[in-house]
């Protein structure tokens, strides 16, 4: 491969990586609504679950995992019980069909054999239910690519807008009550201009929503402890 071609490929890679790192435009709004006071005692933790798909929810498993990882990390990191471990230990009471939809169902759930004991043993103080998803809401432009034995390339411009709207409902298993909600609405437009090589300027709305929601959740749950 010639020196000129190597240099061209290197430049293209640098432009692509830089473009990816720059990203598209993102706007976000994070809000919380407190209903009851919160706090965590030593040994207590949280479990993060997606609301049931039987209720029409489509929260992505990777988003649930992302929030779980982010809530557990950092200086204010909380103890996060893996959701699979929690759901399996309490089988069948947190399956999509049987999981409580409202806090008023909690007393009945806790009265079932072994449920309260297992929750106490696992050290779960709060259940955080995630609801919402990421959708492509608009898009446009055009791009055409062609490839042949001598090489290939693309030309054009494409854009698309994604909205990530999530709600986290925090249930206190000590008081069997709703502690409040945290919402994250992130909207972003991605662009991809292409002159020979496409340069993606991606707006990572889901990742932004995950980090912002996790940060707010940590602050929401331990806020009363600090006060």
């Amino acid at each position: 491969m010639s020196h000129i071609r190597k240099t061209a490929i290197r430049r293209a890679l640098v432009i692509t990586v830089a473009g990816t790192m720059l990203g598209g435009c993102v706007t976000q709004r994070i809000e919380n609504a407190r209903v009851n006071s919160t706090g965590l005692a030593k040994g207590e933790g949280v479990v993060i679950l997606a609301k049931s798909y039987h209720l029409g929810n489509d929260t992505e498993a990777k988003f649930v995992a992302c929030v779980g990882n982010s809530v557990g990390k950092g200086s204010q990191g909380l103890r996060v019980i893996p959701n699979d471990e929690f759901v399996d230990a309490l089988f069948p009471w947190f399956e999509p069909r049987t999981a409580p939809a409202e806090t008023k169902n909690l007393p009945k759930l806790m009265s079932r054999p072994g449920v309260a004991e297992t929750i106490k043993e696992k050290g779960v103080r709060y259940v955080i239910w995630l609801d919402g998803d990421t959708n492509k809401v608009a898009g446009g432009g055009s791009m055409s690519c062609a490839a042949g034995p001598g090489g290939g390339g693309c030309f054009g411009f494409a854009w698309w807008q994604k909205d990530s709207n999530y709600v986290a409902s925090i249930w206190d298993l000590n008081g069997l009550e709703n502690a409040g909600t945290v919402t994250a609405d992130v909207s972003g437009t991605s662009f991809m201009p292409a002159i020979v090589l496409p340069i993606p300027l991606i707006a990572r709305t889901q990742s932004k929503a995950c980090n912002a929601l996790a940060k707010q959740l940590k602050s929401f749950i331990v806020a009363d402890d600090k006060a």
């Binding site: 498993a61 089988f91 069948p92 072994g114």
Partner: protein, 246 residues
């Protein structure tokens, strides 16, 4: 270094063109195959956790149909992709684990055994009425979904059918999270767990199986009552007195 040394020779240039062509053909072939081939997914030993429930005090036996030994379902998607899922003995494992957790005494019998010869309260015969799945191409989403319709027939110890209960279970999984095959496997396991949850939640309400337990208790009490009859007590006492006189 001279300019001539930097330029590729004719042989190198030919090789380069040849490599590009082969790569392009290979990539196209892979894309075409990936678009048409579908997949053959196998499910072995699905994870059904130990349920947190109180066992029903019943002696129950289950008899499984042949389909539970090796269940395979195939679907053609829009006449191109052929997807198949092989559940193997997963259904048998699911029901054995589930009923073993639900009843104090549980056993599996084969098709040649007459349940009326056994000392049991109930015989359960689960079967599959229908199995369906959808892949992202069909639903125009990122989801794999599985529907299983089981049927549970319950017979009392006399062989009289007391319940014929259809159960519709559903599971779905996103392809982006687990990848195609794993997502379909996950959706099938979720559907099985959904069936298990539904059976635990509604078994008694839908079949009234716990009445068989009450019937057994009543029968035991009835059998115990004659021994508490005053005449019997009298005879026992007489015998005891007789024994003591010796």
């Amino acid at each position: 270094m001279s300019m001539r040394a930097q330029k590729p020779s004719f042989l190198e240039a030919t090789d380069l063109v040849f490599c590009w062509s082969i790569s392009a053909v290979a990539a196209t072939a892979i894309l075409l195959l990936a678009g048409c081939a579908g997949s053959n997914v196998q499910l072995r030993n699905p994870t059904i956790p130990e349920p947190l429930i109180d066992q029903l005090p019943l002696k129950v036996a289950a008899r499984y149909p042949e389909a539970f030994d090796h269940f395979v379902h195939e679907e053609k998607v829009i006449g191109k992709e052929k997807w198949s899922i092989d559940l193997g003995e997963s259904n048998k494992l699911l029901f054995t684990h589930l009923f073993g957790s639900m009843f104090t005494d549980f056993s599996v019998i084969d098709t040649s055994t007459d349940a009326r010869d056994l000392d049991i309260d109930a015989l359960i015969e689960p079967s599959i009425d229908a199995f369906e799945f959808s892949v992202p191409k069909q639903s125009q989403t990122d989801e794999f979904a599985v529907w299983i319709r089981y049927r549970i027939k319950i017979f009392d110890k006399e062989g009289v059918q007391i319940a014929n209960w259809p159960i519709a279970a559903y599971g779905k999984s996103l392809s982006g999270t687990f990848g195609g095959d794993a997502a379909l496997q996950r959706a099938a396991v979720l559907a099985m767990r959904d069936a298990a949850a539904l059976i635990i939640l509604q078994m008694d309400k839908s079949s009234g199986i716990s009445k068989l337990s009450n019937a057994r208790l009543q029968q035991q009490q009835d059998m115990a009552q004659p021994s508490a009859d005053p005449d019997n007590l009298q005879s026992t006492a007489t015998e005891e007195q007789h024994d003591e006189s010796h």
